[in-house]
Subunit: 272 residues, 2 copies
Amino acid sequence: MPTDHPLDTALALQRDPTTPGRWQGAPQPAWANMVGPYGGITAAQLLQAVMLDERRLGEPLALTVNFAGPVADRPFTIDAVPVRTNRSTQHWTMQLSQGGEVCTTATAVCAARRPTWSAAEAVMPVVPAADAVPMETRKPPIAWVQRYDLHFVEGGWPDFSRPQELADSRTVLWLRDHPARVLDAAALAALADVFYPRVFRRRQRAVPAGTVSLTTYFHADAAELAAVGAQPVLGVAQGRRFVNGFFDQSAEIWSPDGRLLASSHQVVYFKE
Amino acid sequence: MPTDHPLDTALALQRDPTTPGRWQGAPQPAWANMVGPYGGITAAQLLQAVMLDERRLGEPLALTVNFAGPVADRPFTIDAVPVRTNRSTQHWTMQLSQGGEVCTTATAVCAARRPTWSAAEAVMPVVPAADAVPMETRKPPIAWVQRYDLHFVEGGWPDFSRPQELADSRTVLWLRDHPARVLDAAALAALADVFYPRVFRRRQRAVPAGTVSLTTYFHADAAELAAVGAQPVLGVAQGRRFVNGFFDQSAEIWSPDGRLLASSHQVVYFKE
């Protein structure tokens, strides 16, 4: 694994030898959002505390991250506790704190998978292959956006110079870490937050907005993710209801050959 | 509020005067599942610990419940901690334990909503009104199922006597507490788990299965829920991918006049 990749730099948490499950990390300039770090990188760092722990059973199945308060531009502590370990599942609670104040809470479930009857039900949208879709060259001057190659198939950047209410908030795009990097659970956790707040798209307007709670379900194990390698994956995202300051949006992340790698849901705050 | 309603009986947690945010409760025979309590009632009880707390700010926005281990048929303790309170949101962590062992972990976000631009995006399926759909009279001999009036529009009970793989796992139904009860956030939290494991429907086969993690987003505030009153609500549920022992399913819960009251997502364990 390339250790100088911006994602791997962010995931290089330092073990606190005094307390099992305690790690030190820091926001990375390369992953900055308009204010504080990109939510996806915080999600990936919280998951990484589980991935690095020798007590971990199996692989990530579910991750919920609650963005309780801002993460300041200084080192943070992550505490990860394996609350309960069963034969095939393990339940974790995590917190990211700065100066004793909790910035982010999270829970994760890991699972030891075994072969069973399997079937797809959701279907990948029919879209041109990634290399047939132009790579987006216009990017807002926000650091984390530069961490991804984006090929919008439908629903690209909002045009804030022409506010208008669109009929829907859907986005379909091919995306990949930039520089390219082999996919794993932490990378997928970060990717799952790439779909900017749907209120921007629906209204084509910049309003204050931020993720409050993010849940990602992992369908692919490490082998299936490794098989995707550094190919682009297809993301599909859409909102459901916008009401009195909050809305929810759901996303699916697909391998190029049509396997659902993850589904992800979030509730988002907005103003005005 | 009717205090002898089975839901209200389950929600009548007893305050532990020694510890702020600590409550005592017990599984209710009226809400029993095949093994242990119905997951929806456990979710509602965990949310209730927040609803009852004087420190609560605003109303439920998001609830994640992780079913870490079985809840035995004896009293339990719920600990609810308001980890961080902001101007318009409040983040909680909760645990349900028995004899010092954690059975369930949870997080909740409450929010003080303010009027903003609002819009629907997801659309309620076009279905006959609840009173035009026969009430389901066949019910499995499981206690919690008797707590709901069910009118299946599409995708009723699986027929385990004729195992066959169906093309999809979708269910659409009108449902209401039985006896009828005015809707509130706790009732909605319970309702959100009413959609039996989608693997039963897809395969028309009884296999061991159980919810691992459940996340519900609340779009309706107390006034909007009160306006629904004791009318039936429409539930729509479907799975996405079944693979090596786990699958996810999403559900939407609609008011009769087409407002999305809640969206809910879960990842479910299954065997074989």
